[in-house]
Every structure is written in structure tokens, then in C-alpha cells.
Amino acid sequence: MSDATRALVEAIAEMREPEALTLAREMLDTGCDPLELLDSCRDAMDIVGRKFEEGEYFLVELLLAGEMLQQISAMARPLIQTDEPKDEDRSTIVLGTVQGDIHDIGKDIVTFMLDINGFEVIDLGVDVPVAKFIEAIGEAHPQVVGLSGFLTLSFNSMKQTIEAIEEAGLRQGLRIMIGGGQVDESIREFTGADAFGANAVAAVAIARQWTGAEG
């Protein structure tokens, strides 16, 4: 790892946004491979995720890390000469906020964290009807489905979505995780999901465990 890369990883991991953006700009301007640059961002996110798990970082830091990565990615992507090598092994996850609920902040962080950890994420958005989940699962054949919801009405929507997935014959080999607001073990049981996660880092851990992904 070069000195510049090390400095960038540290700036992101230590939440020094202006410094991280300046370093990234300088590295790209002096010919650093944009793909390598994005790889070092992932290294930085590993540190951020670990600090979150250890209780040193909080939602605020996840949000800021997301902002930094988005901006660096916007600088790097136009400079990528060839198509990014498509990793056929990337596990696919379909997720969305269930029908009747339009809350997106939790789901967006989960999407971001899964994406940065190497999963192929298909985010269906908010207030997602059961049929849209079925369609997406049928097309993308994901290994994992994530259902998000903040309102108490989402408990029923999650249950209905999972039942519909079963009725459509798509449950075989598919693991379903739920999360958001008030979801707990009793709601996992009520909905028939395989697991619930209390936050975005937990969602990544569950998805890794299920797919055996290195991330």
C-alpha cells in the first residue's frame, strides 16, 4: 500500500472529509488507477464498519462515510477505462421497504453497506408491493432478500410478502432478513423471516454468513 493510499484510508476512516476528498483528487490527477483507489475506499469502510461494531462509531459516521465514498466514486468512475471486471461470484440481494411504508433512511444505509461490502444489491425502493418483490426475485435469483419497515403496519406487509414468496415457489434456497424501527425476534417469528438485524452492520454480517461471502 502506497503512502498516499494509506493516508486516504486513514482520512476516510477518521472522518476527515475535506482531506479525504483532496487526497483522492490528487491521486487521480497523478495517475493512480481508479479501480485501486476504489479498493482502498473499501478497506477504509472495513475499518468504519469495525468501529461501528465496537461501539466507537455511530449512524452519523456511517452516513458521513457514505457521503465520502459517493463523492470519491463520482470522481473515479469517469476515469475507469475498461468495464469493471464483473465478479460472477458476487452474491445478489434484493431489498426494499415493504408496502405501506415509505421510510428510506435505514434501507438506504443497508443498501450502501451491502454494496460496499461486495454484494450485488437490487434496491426496489419504498412502499414496494408484494408483486414487485416476486418479480425481482424471479428475475434476479438472489441468495438473500431484505425487507425493511419502520411502521407497525410493516409487520403484516413483511409477513404477506414472505408468504407470497413461498406461494410463488421462490422460497427454496432463499434466505430472508428483516429490519427497521421496532423489528425484534418476535416479529421475525411472526413474519417467518430467517433473521432480523438491528442495524446495517448486522445486515452485512447476516448476509456474509448466509452467502459465505468474503465481502
Binding site: Y57, L59, I102
Partner: protein, 418 residues
């Protein structure tokens, strides 16, 4: 006075004392319970959520039915939180989606649109002249009816002849239309308040005390929820900490003035303050102690000073905040915890504030009456018998709670509360 009226009067006094004893940390004759919901009463009476937002008379019937059946020690009507469909439509209010509006299902609750309604660059403008900022920038963004206000002259410069000349700026068809729409919206709001006041009077006659409340926000939440968006305000702690702190300092004073003015008109005795962005996991202890707690504490102490009882709803799990938030006047506040373990809260705060809560929403929604009874019994026996507990759901009665579970929660205070 008839015999039944006298019995109702006694019941009223008994219930009021029970609640007051709990709040002031004396041992009540039994643990009190509060009735607080958004759409549950409407659903229980067979109304759609949309009807609850538009039909005040019918909402009165629904709330009356629920309160007479459940016999709470104190009640909080849902009207001011949910019966808002018509004024919101007339004002073209943009911060909420609500049932039956713009294609939203008639049986989902209204939902907040978490957006950036004020830019980070505008903190200084807010701090310099909050009223001008609200009138000309903020209001036109959050409700279509106020769009013509963007053209208002600088209000702070309107003295002497400039005041007379300024009328030219407001004599526009758009402003006239805004005036008409606001008048109609105001009539609708008056009707809601009048209709719910009739029910409050009727229930008072029957022996049920009303939790006469005003409501406000923590200064951080005010910016996170309604101005900067949650992501904006969270990131401001790192990107624009000085602006955020200065704006909250100003906002705390304004929020205090707002509640005191409101209470002077309505006679409110309590202040409901739901907190959204300070739970464990959202911000660090250091961030909580720097950004969230000091302006909130200032607000709480001013309200207590004015003899108002804050009911602070600590949403989510706030276990790591307990020691910090114990620094408030004794026996003057209610801390309403959604998911924080009340046994732990009692250890830390039991000598300081009255606790409220917290039968979990998942249990009330998907559990059984036995689950609820067991939970309430543990809470009452372990936390509440010697005072300092008002039983409630984690966030009141959730919209989707099973009626038999709600009945079990209300029955538990008689079964185990004394």
C-alpha cells in the same frame, strides 16, 4: 348534584390524584394508565384511517367508545395529531403523505417526508432573523399556500411610511387566494378543536381527566426532522458544528416562548416532546452531550420553571443516555421510554422522574393477551408499585394493536397495580 355526577366527580379526583402522585414520585393507590394512540381508536371503531383524518364527529365517537371501555386514568385524544386532512389539503402541506391523499392507501398512517427543507448555508440567515427566514423561505417550501409569502418585503424594515407602502407588495391575486385558503384551513382547524373540546367536556363529566397538552421538539430534532432533514442535521454535527449549535441556541429560546404562549391560551399543563434522533446507535455519547442534551435540557428546565410537566418520549433504546438525562429537577417530569429497559431506567432515574411506558409495540401488535399481562405484571410489580410509573405502550397504543391485547394492558393495572 345527582348521585352519578357526584360519583363521576369522585372518580375524576381519584384518577387525577393517582396520576399526580405517580408524577410527583409518591406512592399512588395503584399504578395509573394513560390512553394515547394515533389511529388505533379509529380502526377499533371500524373507521378507515382516511376517515379519521377527515371526519371529526366520527373520530369523537371512536375515541369515546375506546375511552369508556378501557377506563384510563388520563387520556390524550388523537384528534390534534390525526384529524388534519382538510386543513392540510387546503394548505397544500408538503411534509406529510397521508391516507387517501395522492394515491396513498386509505388505511396506512400518515408518514413524514424526511427531506432537506433548509440548506446548511442558511443557518446564518436563520440565526440572524428567524422570523424573516420562516416567513419568506421556510413556509413557502413546506406548504403551497405560503408560496406568495416568498415575495413579502423585509418585515423588520416595516416602520413609519414604509409600512404603508409595503401594502402594495401584498395586494396580489396570489396573496388574496392564500388569504382565502388560510381562512378556510383555519375554520377547519377551529372545528376540529371545537369538536374535540366537546368530547373532552363530556368525558370530564363522566370522570375522565384529559391530559391537556401542548407539544414541541428538542432543538436538535426540530432541525433534523423539519428543517435540514435527518441526514443533513446528523452530518452538520461534523460539517457545520458551530452553525448548528448557534441555531439550536436560538431555537431553544423560540421553542420555550412558543410553548408558554400556547399554554397561556389553551391552559395546557403538560408538554409532549417526542425525541427522534438521539437514540443509542444514532449518535455518540459525546455528540449527545454536545449537541442534543444541552439545548433540550434548557428547554425542559424552562418548562418546569413555568409549572408545566414535560412528557419526554425517548424513542428507541436510550440506555446509554440515562445517567446524563438524570440531571433535571426532581419529581417534575415524565420520561416516556419506547424500548429502553424500564428496570434499568428505574435504577438510574427512579428518584428523579416518573417513567412512562412501555409495553412493546410488537407485543401489542402480534403477541397474545397472556404475553401482555405477564409483561405488565413484571413492570407494575418491579417498577411501578411505589410510584413513578404511568403504564402505556412503548409509543402509546400502536395503530395495529390487537384489541384483546389493549384490553389486557388496561385490565392489568386493576389486577396487579395496587
Amino acid at each position: 348534584m345527582t348521585a352519578s355526577a357526584s360519583a363521576a366527580g369522585e372518580l375524576y379526583a381519584e384518577r387525577e390524584k393517582r396520576v399526580r402522585d405517580a408524577i410527583e414520585l409518591r406512592t399512588p393507590d395503584r399504578v395509573p394508565i394513560i390512553f394515547f394512540c394515533h389511529f388505533w381508536a379509529a380502526r377499533y371503531a371500524g373507521m378507515s384511517f382516511r376517515e379519521a383524518m377527515y371526519d371529526c364527529e366520527k373520530l369523537n365517537e371512536a375515541a369515546r367508545k375506546a375511552i369508556l371501555e378501557l377506563e384510563p386514568d388520563i387520556f390524550q385524544l388523537p384528534h390534534a395529531a390525526v384529524n388534519l386532512g382538510r386543513p392540510m389539503e387546503l394548505m397544500d402541506y408538503k411534509q406529510l403523505e397521508w391516507p387517501g391523499h395522492r394515491g396513498v392507501d386509505p388505511n396506512v398512517p400518515y408518514q413524514y417526508l424526511d427531506r432537506e427543507y433548509m440548506l446548511a448555508e442558511e443557518y446564518q440567515e436563520y440565526i440572524f432573523d428567524p422570523t424573516g427566514f420562516m416567513l419568506r423561505k421556510y413556509l413557502p417550501r413546506v406548504a403551497g399556500v405560503f408560496e406568495p409569502f416568498a415575495m413579502l418585503p423585509e418585515v423588520s424594515t416595516l416602520f413609519y411610511l414604509k409600512l404603508i407602502h409595503s401594502t402594495a407588495a401584498v395586494a396580489t391575486p396570489a396573496m388574496a387566494e392564500a388569504g382565502r385558503a388560510l381562512f378556510q384551513a383555519g375554520r377547519e382547524s377551529q372545528q376540529m378543536l371545537g369538536t374535540s373540546a366537546q368530547l373532552i367536556a363530556e368525558l370530564t363529566e363522566l370522570g375522565f381527566p384529559n391530559n391537556n397538552l401542548s407539544f414541541t421538539s428538542a432543538p436538535f430534532d426540530m432541525f433534523a426532522d423539519y428543517f435540514r432533514g435527518s441526514k443533513g442535521a446528523m452530518l452538520d454535527m461534523i460539517r457545520h458544528p458551530d452553525d448548528l449549535l448557534a441555531a439550536m441556541d436560538k431555537a431553544a429560546e423560540i421553542l420555550i416562548r412558543g410553548v408558554l404562549a400556547d399554554a397561556a391560551i389553551t391552559g395546557a399543563q403538560t408538554v409532549f416532546i417526542p425525541l427522534h434522533w438521539c437514540l443509542d446507535g444514532f449518535m455518540s455519547p459525546a455528540q449527545f452531550e454536545t449537541f442534543f442534551w444541552p439545548p433540550l435540557r434548557k428547554l425542559l428546565c424552562a418548562l418546569v420553571e413555568a409549572d408545566l410537566v414535560p412528557h419526554v418520549l425517548w424513542e428507541g433504546d436510550c440506555t446509554t443516555r440515562l445517567e446524563t438525562i438524570a440531571d433535571v429537577p426532581r419529581a417534575k417530569l415524565v420520561y416516556f421510554f419506547e424500548r429502553t429497559d424500564l428496570f434499568r431506567a428505574k435504577e438510574v432515574l427512579g428518584d428523579t422522574v416518573c417513567l412512562r411506558g412501555n409495553v412493546p409495540a410488537p407485543m401489542l401488535t402480534t403477541g397474545t393477551p397472556d404475553d401482555v399481562r405477564g409483561f405488565c405484571r413484571r413492570l407494575i410489580e418491579g417498577v411501578g408499585r411505589d410510584g413513578g410509573l404511568i403504564l402505556d405502550g412503548g409509543i402509546g397504543i400502536p395503530d395495529d394493536a390487537k384489541p384483546e391485547n389493549v384490553r389486557a394492558m388496561f385490565a392489568s393495572v386493576a389486577e396487579y397495580g395496587a
